[in-house]
């Protein structure tokens, strides 16, 4: 089993990019050989897609990487260190690194996890994407599908 998991919040502008990419891929039937999942902000549910028998997971998410807004990059969290200082877990304050930390602490074997990070221009309250991300949306879809060899 291979999963593309979009995470984020529709109501926080570019923080919705992961959800929109997953949604577009599913709507256009581009999820051949993998399943596109929209997790919204329920990051704890990511744990359900990290169990045994999972071949690989691509998480699509907005990521502050110090790049130009709209740029995207594939990376693994082994090669990235979170700058968030979070007290714990809730559906709203957690992030990907925190959930994976929980999975590791539970002693679960994790499948290879890659992040398609997209540098946001705006994560303030609001629906829709910034023009920077809207203009490059197809690039993200192509990159995500291409990750699985599509």
């Amino acid at each position: 089993m291979r999963y593309l998991v979009g995470i984020g919040t529709y109501a926080a502008t570019d923080d919705s990019i992961g959800l929109r990419v997953a949604e577009a891929i599913a709507a256009e039937g581009l999820d051949k050989g993998f399943t596109a999942i929209d997790l919204g902000g329920n990051l704890l549910d990511l744990l359900h897609y990290l169990g045994e028998g999972i071949e690989r997971v691509l998480v699509v998410d907005a990521a502050r990487m110090g790049r130009e807004p709209g740029e995207h990059q594939l990376f693994t969290l082994e090669h990235a260190r979170t700058r968030k200082d979070l007290a714990g877990l809730s559906t709203h304050e957690d992030d990907l690194a925190k959930v994976l930390e929980l999975a590791r602490a539970l002693g679960r074997p994790l499948p290879p996890i890659t992040v398609l990070g997209i540098e946001p221009a705006d994560v303030s309250s609001g629906m829709g994407l910034s023009s920077a991300l809207e203009a490059r949306f197809r690039e993200y879809v192509v990159a995500a599908v291409g990750f699985f060899g599509g």
């Binding site: 919040t9 109501a11 923080d15 999942i37 714990g88 559906t91 690194a97 309250s125 629906m127």
Partner: protein, 439 residues
């Protein structure tokens, strides 16, 4: 007794969204004691104006990544009321089943991940892996069940795709329902263990009674999560009042305050409570026998006036949803799933709905023109209905804590626990990853 207190909790953790607790006492005089909600309004109502009725639920489901099912259901129900659509019994049962999945999921998360650390003296769920590993593993098993439950009916859990005005775009098969039934049955031992855990922790729940008005959707045939003929309130003395859903503005009475960007509400008193404890107080008689037994075991009786007990009421509702889910599944499996098609509009007018989401009542209202385009919309979320009640709780709690003579740290924890007990979902904040690359 403390004469000087300075509590300033900026962005309280383990709640959904951003809220602040500010308490200042100088020389024994209370200068400030506030629950502040600084988040910006989203104007979703404006986003659906000019959109076709078939699109509206898809847009409103994105209001919240936690209560997306509730927003979807409230939206299609309001649209159906406006368009004169009467859905079938099969549709009602499937939607009710989906609603139970959402409440089950949200309550498990709140009880185990957000509240349990307080009761076990931990700052978050992480230390509990070491000390209470089986409890954390159980929480995740129950979360997984809820996730699969919601996906089976809604197409996907977070933003359901199958629920549309007039029925279902895609129906589950009987085989899928049978598989879901087996999964819920298999979770019964975990439910029993949950009751054991909460019964052991219940003595740590603070004692604090402050009577208020409790409001919930009311139905003659069910506990009133997905649907109900009316909205009912009950006071601590058992006095009840009943209202038509269409009149929701007259009993929510939204108003602005200087301390918050979110609106507050009130009805018969200067605030009211919505959510699991309110539902329990209003609809106790409609609970499943298994849920009533759970309530008795956990020491919860209607009318309960301790807001900290909302968490216990959530546990009771988890039990109710599991057994009510089984009942609905049994009926659907026995009758089989019929491809009934989508019920079409008979008019284009206005309509309102009320659905119980994990944190309380969600009201949606729409008006459509003759082309089926939305010309007016309104939405009142449950957390806003609780802000005023939280503030009144603060007002009553502070003098009691001062009289108890507890430390400022303990006082802060009691305020934090109080807010967390309401399980507020203030609004969805961002989840983006913030990283630096390690070379």
């Amino acid at each position: 007794m403390l004469h000087d207190v300075n509590i300033n909790v900026h962005h309280l953790t383990r709640v959904e969204g951003h809220g602040n607790i500010v308490v200042n006492v100088t020389d024994g005089t209370v200068e400030q004691c506030e629950w502040q909600v600084p988040e910006a309004p989203r104007f979703f109502e404006a986003m659906v104006r000019g959109r076709h009725y078939s699109e509206v639920a898809r847009i409103t489901s994105r209001i919240c990544g936690i209560c997306a099912v509730g927003h979807t259901l409230a939206s299609v129900k309001a649209t159906e009321a406006a368009l004169g659509i009467e859905v079938t019994e099969q549709t009602k049962k499937l939607r009710s089943l989906l609603k139970h999945a959402e409440n089950f999921d949200s309550h498990v998360l709140h009880v185990y991940v957000l509240v349990a650390p307080d009761l076990l003296g931990a700052p978050s769920v992480f230390p509990l892996i070491e000390t209470h590993g089986e409890v954390v593993a159980r929480a995740l098993r129950l979360k997984r069940l809820a996730h699969e439950w919601g996906s089976a009916i809604g197409g996907r859990t977070t933003h359901p795709t199958t629920v549309i005005p007039g029925g279902f775009a895609k129906l589950p098969t009987v085989k899928e329902l049978e598989a879901l039934r087996e999964k819920i049955l298999a979770a019964v031992p975990d439910l029993e263990a949950t009751l054991d855990t909460i019964a052991a922790l219940a003595p740590k729940i603070p004692a604090f009674d402050r009577p208020t008005e409790y409001m919930a959707v009311s139905s003659a045939s069910e506990y009133g999560l997905y649907d109900g003929e009316a909205v009912e309130t009950v006071l601590a003395d058992g006095d009840r009042a009943r209202y038509a859903v269409d009149d929701y503005r007259t009993f929510t009475n939204e108003y602005m305050t200087a301390q918050s960007t979110a609106k507050f509400t009130k009805n018969r008193l200067d605030s009211y409570a919505a959510g699991a404890l309110a539902r329990f107080n209003v609809n106790y008689e409609m609970l499943r026998p298994e849920a009533k037994a759970a309530a008795e075991r956990l020491g919860l009786e209607p009318v309960c006036t301790n807001p900290y007990m909302n968490t216990v009421a959530q546990v009771v509702e988890v039990v109710h949803s599991a057994y009510e889910g089984l009942r609905l599944l049994d009926e659907l499996i026995e009758s089989g799933i019929a491809d009934e098609g989508i019920v079409q509009p008979t008019r284009f007018a206005s309509g309102a709905s009320a659905v119980e989401v994990p944190r309380g009542i969600l009201f949606h209202e729409y008006e459509y023109d003759a082309e089926g385009m939305c010309v007016r919309a309104n939405c009142i979320i449950p957390t806003n209905q609780n802000h005023g009640n939280i503030q009144r709780d603060f007002d009553a709690l502070l003098p009691r804590l001062l009289a108890e003579g507890i430390s400022e740290d303990d006082m802060r924890l009691r305020f934090e626990m109080l807010v967390r007990a309401y399980d507020p979902c203030i609004s969805c904040s961002t989840h983006y990853v913030d990283v630096e690359f390690v070379r």
